[in-house]
Amino acid sequence: MNQEIVKLEPEKITKTDITKSWIRWFAYSEVSNSYERLQALAFCGAMSGILEKLYKNKEDLAAALQRHLTMYNTQCNWGSVISGITIALEEKAASKSEEVTEEEEDEVSEEVITGIKTGLMGPIAGIGDTIDYGTLRPILMGIFIPFALAGSAVAALLPLIIQTTFTAIMGYTLYHKGYSVGKKSIIDILQSGKIQQVISGAGVVGMFMMGALSANYVKLTTPMTITTSVKVLQIQTFIDQIAPKLLPLVAVLGVYLYLIKIGPNYVKIVGFLIGISLLGSAIGIF
């Protein structure tokens, strides 16, 4: 990674370049996802146009492409901010030779770029997944599923349309924002109370919606009866007198407890639920 003595001038990065890089990122992000390096190829591909403008020297370009082929994985919408920051950092790194002494901040090395990428990708993925797929998507689905069940094809497509639009606007904004604010402010944003408030607010709505949807759509009753000398007692009637829909509530909380105590073993849980349904049906509990 030694600095070339003969260095060709890097071109200026324009707003169009960044938009182009964002379009590539959104188009590529998961297409080439592989076990070995996950989104590395997508990230490098999205960055490649920028790198071509910055590194006019073949060796420098090769080195830059190689450093962006290292393992990368984040949530692609919110992760746009990381790409924006990376562009800003690469620009600084490429122009290093011109303003040699000036500020210490210009000390942008390969380690700094990779360090910032890998440091941010995890937390951002956590935030992004929670907001986009833990909250927004379930809420949109929850609102429109009843209309779809009632026969509205438009309602069935609205979650797709709304979330695609939201994600594109968000990703575009974050990509440019990341570039303009550089590395410092992302740490500010992550530490500020604002984002924490958004996350916890989203969590409240999400939890509340999950409760409401569970009550609507998880169905479980028991046909069991107790025969006394006087009359036949319906167990379900008895349960309903305590509180409505107690069995579905137990089912959801039971699965939830399993997930957090034992782990997210999807296959096992599905197998268990089907097994217990068949057993319950056979012996007449459900």
Binding site: G45, A62, P146, A148, I199, S214, S281
Partner: protein, 248 residues
């Protein structure tokens, strides 16, 4: 029949090739797919009911680290057409969907294993400073490679699946069908519970309970629920101490 099966094969490919982030995460959902399946089979009403029902089970199915827990797109592209043609209820469609969704994970594993090869070719292109070559490896080639992986299974399942389902349905005893129906009604619990885990705040369980019983006691519409939910979130964050820690 062949044409419909081929169209479903294409639909499944379109839903899983992951082009354009955001769109790619929603097009693969059973609710979105059901509209297209309804068009292909000329039975929108049934398709929407099946799609909406399947969707609830897959509500919380996100892919941390890119590992999908189940392939809801394959589940939808096989179970919904089968249910439409074999005239079975949505509970049975859910029961058909579950094992198919799990089989779909294998396809995704195959895809991502194959694409490891592309990254190694990309290493060589990077050494040569060939940026355009890397872009092709990131987009064009994986799209081509993914086509047979996605198209063929969905096509075959649709071509031969209906007979298999009908034979199965007429041969299994009543209690099994009833049991599958019960399972279909419980399985959405997994979708909701998974979403709760993703939200990741155990101390928010009371909000879940409130949401549950508001509906259980009053039966208000989901829009009403959303109104209460947002107001409660606003109140909660207003009174929240600024630096609350995020728990795992």
């Amino acid at each position: 029949m062949i044409i419909q099966a081929a169209l479903i094969g294409l639909l499944y490919y379109m839903a899983t090739n992951r082009v354009w982030y955001g769109f790619s995460m929603l097009i693969r959902q059973p609710l979105s797919l059901s509209v297209f399946i309804g068009l292909i089979f000329g039975d929108m009403e049934t398709a929407l009911i099946m799609g909406g029902t399947l969707q609830m089970m897959y509500l919380g199915a996100i892919a941390p680290g890119g590992n999908i827990p189940t392939d809801e797109a394959l589940a939808a592209c096989v179970a919904i057409p089968l249910a439409i043609q074999a005239h079975v209820g949505p509970e049975i469609a859910v029961a058909i969907a579950v094992p198919i969704g799990l089989l779909g994970v294998l396809l995704d594993e195959l895809r991502r294993t194959l694409f490891t090869g592309l990254v190694h070719i990309a290493d060589k292109r990077a050494e040569e400073g060939d940026a355009a070559g890397i872009r092709r490896l990131a987009f064009v080639y994986p799209l081509i490679c993914a086509f047979p992986i996605r198209f063929i299974p969905a096509f075959l399942a649709n071509l031969y699946g209906v007979d298999a389902v009908q034979t199965f349905m007429s041969s299994v005893p009543q209690w099994v069908l009833q049991g599958l129906g019960i399972a279909g009604n419980i399985l959405p619990a997994l979708g909701f519970a998974l979403t709760m885990v993703i939200i990741g705040k155990r101390n928010y369980i009371p909000f879940f309970i409130i949401g549950f019983f508001v509906v259980a006691y009053t039966g208000i519409s989901i829009v009403g629920v959303a109104i209460f939910g947002f107001c409660m979130a606003a109140i909660y964050t207003h009174f929240q101490p600024i630096k609350e820690q995020r728990e795992g």
